[in-house]
Amino acid sequence: MKNPQLNKNGELQHLLTIDGLSANIVRHILDTAESFLNVAEREVKKVPLLRGKAIFNLFFEPSTRTRTTFEIAAKRLSADVINLNVSASSASKGETLLDTVDNLTAMQADMFVVRHGQSGAAHLIARHVAPHIHVVNAGDGRHAHPTQALLDMFTIRHFKQEFHNLRVAIVGDVLHSRVARSQIHALSILGVPEIRVIAPKTLLPAEVERMGVHVYHDMRQGLKDVDVVIMLRLQNERMRGALLPSAQEYFKYYGLTLDKLALAKPDAIVMHPGPMNRGVEIDSDVADGVQSVILSQVTFGIAVRMAVMSILAGSHAA
């Protein structure tokens, strides 16, 4: 089966998922991001790589952080950025996803950054658009959030340098998390020898072990001697009902506290894709503590998204 995100030269045409990417491509993105880090410190925070290109931020789901960092990244690459909050316009008028894309293509779009509530939405758009157009998946349903995973890898590399000697624990709602899926793929591609997921059985997808992870239900065991702790957001609507009895019980057994963090390696870092639910999945003492690198993730997110967009725009149409 043809990998839908590569062109015939094996270059990245779209970024839809981490699944199936080569280690070389992932490292190339991280290295490119490294070179963009200092752009923010310049007096003129811009490089002219995407001058004259029109990038449409097509968000069918609300987002602040991801959309904003994509916007900043595109502007630093000198692209023209158009933000569309589609949930509030076309979709409510009954226009289909591909109709919306066609209309924007007619406005000379060069790249779509897409967030959608349905798994596979970005793949659908990528299959549909003309070959000169690039698609970046900014989160589709429960499936993938590749730029988040890449900025997480960037963060881990920044603080830990290597991947081949790490133990990484991902804690929380893996079932509904596109972030977790992309992280698991990225960590395995980069050679992390031990990836753990820690969650109650209700928050783990079927046969999750087939993705190459070790499953823990006891957070204390799962955190033992890990180098990186990645906390996942628990959405409000999951906190009571059939998945979990209450936010309180969840915090007691799966919330990250200083006490539990002490079981990890002393120099372990704590990450969270945001937005955080303080007191639900993470205690404020940890979120604001010395081991937290959560704000670095946000900063690095801009450089990583600049890297992704510049690499895609630099690939040749198939």
């Binding site: 591909l98 959608h116 798994s119 549909h128 589709d140 997808p205 046969e207 999750v208």
Partner: protein, 425 residues
């Protein structure tokens, strides 16, 4: 009209014929096999050299989309597709809009279908009014209007009290209750099998237990009520095992499998191929293998197309929002032949899954090549390859996981009631 079909290889599982014989048709019926009746002068001779001549196929599940979904397909287009697929009788589920829950709707459908002079249509009446799962329908009236059984289609029936009473009522009149086993709560919101692929793709999942729990419920109620049950479109390994045990116990239970499920698994979803969004979901390869085993050992009585024509727009959506289903009438025979070849099953056994067996389930006396019976026949070239593509399909539904694939086995002539209703080179 008298027709003489010569030089064909006759396969009739019911009468255990598999040999080269000529067949003679007069007045819409089979008048002789082997030797011409005295004084028989054919108006037409069909040369079936190299072809297999078998009873017309009986498809236990084909949606014609009328009334209510004419934007997806029409009776005309789907009846064309049926005879092009060698299907001479088909059962249509009641999931139309409105559902087939009133005699007038059934009579209209039968009338419309009959006026097209193609395949025979056997509607299933709705088991509950509007398929809402709350009040049972006027089953006896619906039978009189032409319903061959009663079904809840794919609509949920959560209330076991209603199911119990519906089965009792059906049993009163000896009607067969057709159920696709699926627990409504476990299936809620799901679009793919709860396994490796759904986990990887982040698709809301339906566990195998959604099917097995429902089978357990249905079998328990069948035991209590004595109702005759036909389980539609099994998809799980455990489901097959449960039906096997129920048959051993002597319960009046039959079942079918949709042809796509005999070949495909969750893996075929690939990168969100919405043509593989089917109901029930494509399950694991172990499940698929168990369905094939069940077909082989007779636990699974019949194969059906589960034909569901869907317009292109409804498939050009994210996987979870795309309309479920695949076009199937014209793929039923070649995919059955493919299964037979791969599984090393004799051709006659495979053909029985499309003729004798469905006829037995329906309680009909067609589905065989018997002198005196209506001449419903399918003549096909078992060696001929054809490519599945939009223009090679008569159905309005071009939605198929086999898009672009070359399949072997091409229908050449179809007869219903002794009339040629389809013919191609």
């Amino acid at each position: 009209m008298k027709i003489h079909i010569q030089n064909g290889r006759l396969i009739d599982p019911k009468n255990q014929i598999d040999a080269q014989h000529d067949i003679y048709i007069a007045a819409g019926k089979i008048s002789a096999i082997g030797v011409a009746p005295e004084g028989f002068v054919a108006n037409r001779v069909i040369d079936a050299s190299g072809l297999i001549v078998c009873p017309g196929l009986i498809d236990l599940s084909a949606r014609l989309r009328e009334p209510g979904y004419e934007y997806m397909a029409t009776l005309e287009s789907e009846m064309d597709a049926a005879v092009a697929g060698g299907v001479t009788s088909l059962v249509c589920p009641p999931d139309t809009d409105p559902p087939l829950d009133e005699p007038g709707l059934v009579e209209m459908l039968k009338f419309r279908a009959k006026s097209l002079n193609q395949a025979r249509v056997f509607p299933l009446g709705a088991l509950t009014q509007k398929l809402e799962g709350q009040r049972i329908t006027e089953m006896a009236e619906l039978r009189d209007a032409g319903c061959i059984g009663f079904s809840q289609a794919d609509a949920p029936l959560q209330d076991t009290q209603v199911l119990w009473r519906a089965m009792q009522y059906a049993a009163t009149f000896d009607f067969t209750v057709w159920l696709r086993p699926q627990d409504a709560y476990l299936a809620k919101g799901g679009v793919a099998h709860d396994g490796e692929v759904a986990s990887r793709l982040g698709l809301p999942a339906i566990p195998a237990s959604a099917e097995t729990i429902a089978i357990g419920t249905i079998l328990a109620l069948a035991r209590d009520t004595g109702a005759r049950i036909h389980l539609c479109r099994l998809s799980t390994r455990t489901g097959v095992a449960m039906v096997r045990a129920a048959k051993e116990e002597g319960l009046p239970v039959t079942c079918d499998v949709a042809i796509h499920h005999a070949h495909l698994s969750e893996m075929d979803i690939g990168y969100f191929d919405t043509n593989c969004h089917l109901i029930p979901p494509l399950r694991s390869s172990r499940d698929r293998d168990a369905l094939r085993q069940g077909l082989q050992d007779g636990t699974v009585d019949a194969l059906c197309s589960d034909h569901a024509p869907v317009d292109d727009d409804a498939k050009l959506l994210p996987f979870g929002e795309a309309e479920a289903g695949a076009t199937g009438l014209e793929l039923l025979l070649p995919l059955t032949l493919k299964w037979a070849e791969e599984a090393g099953v004799p051709l006659a056994t495979a053909i029985a899954k499309l003729t004798t067996e469905p006829a037995r389930i329906l309680g009909l006396n067609n589905g065989s090549l018997t002198v005196g019976q209506p001449a419903d026949l399918c003549l096909f070239d078992p060696q001929r390859y054809w490519k599945v593509e939009p223009r090679s399909l008569k159905s309005s539904g071009k939605n198929t996981p086999y898009q672009g694939v070359e399949l072997r086995g091409k229908v050449r002539v179809t007869l219903v009631d002794g009339h040629v209703v389809y013919e191609t080179d």
